[in-house]
């Protein structure tokens, strides 16, 4: 246990039961991997390969699966309050529209049992990090989609998570906004050094962000098929960097060699 993994997934399979005679949908097949503390790992795979299922298992939203999944050595589970501090950024912002941005973050802080004396300081800090300092008292519906997603990232970092799960958080945004947010995410990650598990189907995004890419094959029965180490790619990375661009092309080539074609994307 000298070098405890932050996230450890062992032979995890998940079958969604079918109705009547149908066999059901095998979303994950024998997935095994580990993520070290402070590592930024992207899971890259086509739609429907079970990426989101994996995050739901890790966050405890889904506890019907085979195999073992643990975070900081503790098994994940629906009501495992002792589990490590986990934050989740979804594809959509999932902010409560009747609460201001600040009150939305307060909800996560109170759920994480952070003492209320720290709230103001923490919220001010994360809002500044996502450049929303002036918008704490706004309601989500008064903000643009990109700003809402930034607020949800602020909510995630406010609880100072040991593990941050991200499910294609930028896929619903326009490319320019997404680029800005990716860069912001890396800056914030640099200050917090949380372990990040980031799910995406975008090879360039995965290359730009991660220390390591885990590739998955097409569903049903998505499997991990390849791993690419990107620690050589110096940080901070920039979009103009030729090396990032070229690495991402290799990543795409490897992805294509595994899943056949990129028709869907």
């Amino acid at each position: 246990m000298a070098n405890a993994a932050s996230i450890e997934i062992n032979q995890v399979s998940k079958v969604f039961p079918g109705k009547g005679q149908s066999a059901g949908w095998r979303a994950l097949d024998d997935a095994t991997f580990r993520v070290d503390p402070g590592e930024f790992v992207c899971i890259l795979g086509p739609s429907g390969c079970g990426k989101s299922t994996l995050l739901n298992i890790l966050s405890g939203l889904d506890d019907q699966f085979e195999g073992t999944a643990s975070i900081h050595g503790r098994p994940v589970g629906k009501r495992n309050y002792d589990a490590a501090r986990i934050a989740y950024v979804f594809q959509e912002p999932r902010l409560m529209p009747w609460r201001t941005v600040r009150a939305n973050i307060e909800f996560a802080l109170s759920a994480a049992n952070v003492s209320s004396s720290q709230w103001k300081e923490r919220i001010d800090r994360v809002l500044a990090l996502v450049e929303l300092s002036d918008f704490g008292d706004f309601y989500p519906l008064q903000l643009s989609g990109g700003m809402q997603q930034r607020a949800s990232i602020a909510r995630a970092f406010a609880i100072e998570p040991e593990v941050l799960l991200m499910d294609e958080p930028f896929s619903a945004l326009d490319e320019l906004t997404a680029r800005r947010l990716r860069q912001q995410l890396l800056t914030i990650w640099g200050t917090f050094r949380s372990t990040v598990l980031f799910v995406t189907h975008n090879a360039f995004e995965a290359t730009f962000l991660s220390d390591r890419i885990l590739m998955m094959t097409k569903g049903p029965g998505g499997k991990f098929c390849d791993e690419i180490d990107l620690r050589e790619l110096a940080r901070p990375r920039s979009y103009e960097d030729v090396r990032v661009f070229e690495t991402s092309r290799t990543v795409v080539e490897r992805l294509v060699s595994h899943i056949g074609s990129l028709d869907e994307h």
Partner: protein, 285 residues
């Protein structure tokens, strides 16, 4: 040379007082939106009055008295205690019937929204309740309970229960599962999820149901009073109808309409706006 002062005066305030300029813009936008609203509403009330006058001109005054005649009768009536006693009686019945209908509908609606078995079970009841004419329900209850106030309240409440139940049920079905998942992912406990995530989502439906229910209940109470009571506004209306005194009938109806409009628009409407400030407002950034 002559342009410079102009551009400075234009430019400087827009930076120094950007906030107040924004505020002012917001206020004027609000005013603009609401001014248009008011004009339309005013025109609507006026044309309603116009229609009434038109009807009064076509029909004999004993059948359809003109608005100003009814208003004169009403002004006289409200100086006497009798009408206020009847208003108080009817209002009391409304309060009790509304409380009863809302409580039953809340229990049924929540049960149906939270349990599939309950939904299947009560679905038949609700459909039957909706299809049965209120008149049949009311007469049956008078027969069972007797011609008393208790019966009147139950009879006014029962026909409204199925409609309210459906409303509340729909509201609970529409709760956003994604937000509940978010709360669970952040390890919020059950109490927090119900209090902070589910309750605020059902509140709008509850309030809408309450408004809707109140609107139905007061008509039902008048109907019940007409059928089986010897006091209250409904009875007064029936009494004057028997006397062929349409001015009094309309005067009583008008007074009650004004009271209910006041409760509905001023009180409940204000509460709704207060509770749901977060809804999409005038501006996005």
């Amino acid at each position: 040379m002559s342009l410079q002062p102009l551009s400075v005066t234009r430019f400087v305030p827009s930076i120094l007082s950007r906030k107040s300029a924004e505020d002012r813009a917001r206020v004027s936008r609000w005013f603009e939106a609401h001014a248009a609203d008011r004009v339309i509403k005013f025109a609507s009330v006026l044309s309603l009055l116009g229609l009434w006058y038109f009807g009064a001109a076509l029909l004999p005054a004993s059948v359809m008295p003109a608005p100003h005649i009814v208003a004169r009768v009403l002004l006289h009536e409200i100086t006497l205690p009798r009408i206020w006693i009847n208003v108080a009686i009817t209002m009391t019945r409304i309060v009790f019937a509304f409380g009863l209908a809302m409580s039953v509908a809340l229990v049924l609606g929540f049960a149906m929204g939270l349990s599939k078995t309950a939904a299947r079970f009560f679905d038949v009841w609700v459909v039957c309740g909706l299809s049965l004419p209120s008149l049949v329900l009311i007469l049956t209850i008078f027969m069972i309970v007797g011609l008393n106030d208790r019966a009147a309240i139950i009879a006014a409440a029962i026909p409204v229960v199925p409609i309210l139940t459906i409303n509340i049920w729909e509201g609970i079905k529409n709760v956003d599962q994604k937000l509940i998942d978010m709360a669970k992912a952040y390890h919020a406990d059950r109490r927090r999820i119900i209090g902070s995530v589910i309750a605020p989502q059902i509140a709008p439906t509850m309030l809408a149901s309450a408004r809707f229910g109140l609107g139905l209940i007061w008509k039902m109470v008048l109907f019940v009073e007409l059928l089986g009571r010897s006091d209250g506004i409904g009875y007064q209306i029936e009494y004057y109808y028997q006397m062929f005194n349409m001015s009094e009938v309309l005067a009583h109806a008008l007074l009650f309409l004004l009271i209910m409009l006041f409760i509905e628009i001023i009180l409940l409407g204000k509460l709704e706006r207060r509770l749901f400030r977060w809804r999409p407002i005038q501006r996005r950034i």
